[in-house]
Amino acid sequence: MKYAYFPGCSAHSTARDSHMSTLAVAHALDIEMVEPIGWSCCGATAAHQTGRVLAAALPAANLVLAQHMGMDMVATCAACYNRLKIANFEISHSPEMREHVSDAIGRDYDGSVRVIHFVELLIKDIGLKSIRSKLKKSLDNLKVACFYGCLLVRPHDVMQFDDPENPTSLDNLVNMMGGESLDWPHKVECCGGGLSLTRTDVVIRLTDSILAMAQESGAECIAVACPMCQSNLDMRQKDITKATGRKYNMPIIYTTQLLGLCLGLSPKELGLEKLIVPADKIIEVIEGK
């Protein structure tokens, strides 16, 4: 299976671990991922908050590349995934938007390229059964709080990823790997997203509430599928202690890293040493099995 792979800007900076583990898992499962030549930024929240046409045109410039490759577009960052899908939705539902966007990017684009998240690809295109047959190790009943955040599931009309209030895709993956996904109430809360630098106080408050709930629910780690959620939840734990006195030592692991370990890949090729809160204990348990 061959896909156009949109790494997103963070793949070469704050989310190299997401990028590395995605490519390693894809390789192990015989999924071919081809980066479109010349791909550019999706515009993220900054473009979305600046102008509607700008917010649709930046993703469209990338989608049109995938269209020329004749492939579906896979994203691993929930923010890119969200912006790519919303651009498709707006362009295909409004002839006026299509016209503006096509003028901005310099070629006609109709909004029809299929956009999927890598987790969706694993579940829908590959299938849990097929992945299970390739597992070499087990999560050994590891208690995992699956965190979806905002951008994977909302707006539901556009994303159609999963249930917007109680999604279960990541949970199904974790359970398939022999883990115990927890039923907890903060699956689709907001981590503060792009406010990390501008309103750090807000991010500290929101991540504190998510981490507290995961801890109370008995989680040994939180599994994520978004670089922004990962970085906010992972990097702010010490800041939360400074601000509130509450202590956390909760590893925030990409779902692809957990899957990579179960496929027998090494922690190094999955970028696990890059986590701020180390996941050594979890790695030991999985590798020991």
Partner: protein
């Protein structure tokens, strides 16, 4: 907060402008406050989403664009997902931001528009975001030099932030997009 009701028509203020920009019909809101209950910053903001809508109903003018929630809202879309009347409240927040940018309304605490400009400038220059440049430009502008500096050594050691400039993107198309979609302001601030 106190809302003063005057004899002005209830369609005065910026409500018409916001409805046009967002494409939503705000008159269907009956103030159930589900949006405010689910809003992650609802209790931090001066006016949570339902109150913003009520103030629009009552003829609020451009002063509404200065509300802290306008730039505290991260478009998590929980409000839109839970509105029983299907009002796209997130689109209303987008419209408030668009109008604030057009009018040159001063940015509240955190200066999110400055951060957005810093991010988009790196995209304009390199075709992709460049974290180091974006963070430096924002910190210089917002006078937050020392914030999070303690994190850099660990991030550099773990290669969690890129030092080298992004390469390989189609910068020509990206610049064309920025040129074609430039937002025109009513007047300089």
């Amino acid at each position: 907060m106190t809302i003063r009701i005057t004899k002005k028509s209830s369609r005065s203020g910026i409500v018409g402008n916001i409805e046009e920009l967002s494409g939503v019909n705000l008159s269907t809101c009956y103030q159930c406050k589900k949006c405010s209950s689910g809003c992650p910053v609802g209790d931090l903001a001066g006016s949570p989403p339902s109150e913003i809508i009520r103030r629009l109903h009552l003829g609020a003018d451009e002063e509404l664009l200065e509300s802290d929630i306008v730039w505290m809202c991260m478009s998590c879309e929980t409000c839109s997902a839970r509105c029983p009347m299907g009002i796209d409240i997130a689109a209303v927040m987008d419209a408030l931001r668009a109008l604030a940018l057009k009018k040159g309304t001063p940015a509240p605490e955190g200066n999110v528009p400055l951060f957005n400009r810093a991010l988009l400038t790196t995209v304009k220059l390199f075709g992709r975001t460049y974290d180091m440049g974006m963070i430096a430009a924002y910190k210089l502008g917002a006078h937050k030099f020392l914030q999070d500096t303690g994190k850099f050594p660990e991030m550099l050691k773990k290669k969690k932030i890129a030092l080298i400039l992004p390469r390989g993107s189609d910068k020509k198309t990206v610049r064309r997009i920025f040129r074609k979609t430039q937002v025109k302001r009513d007047s300089k601030p």
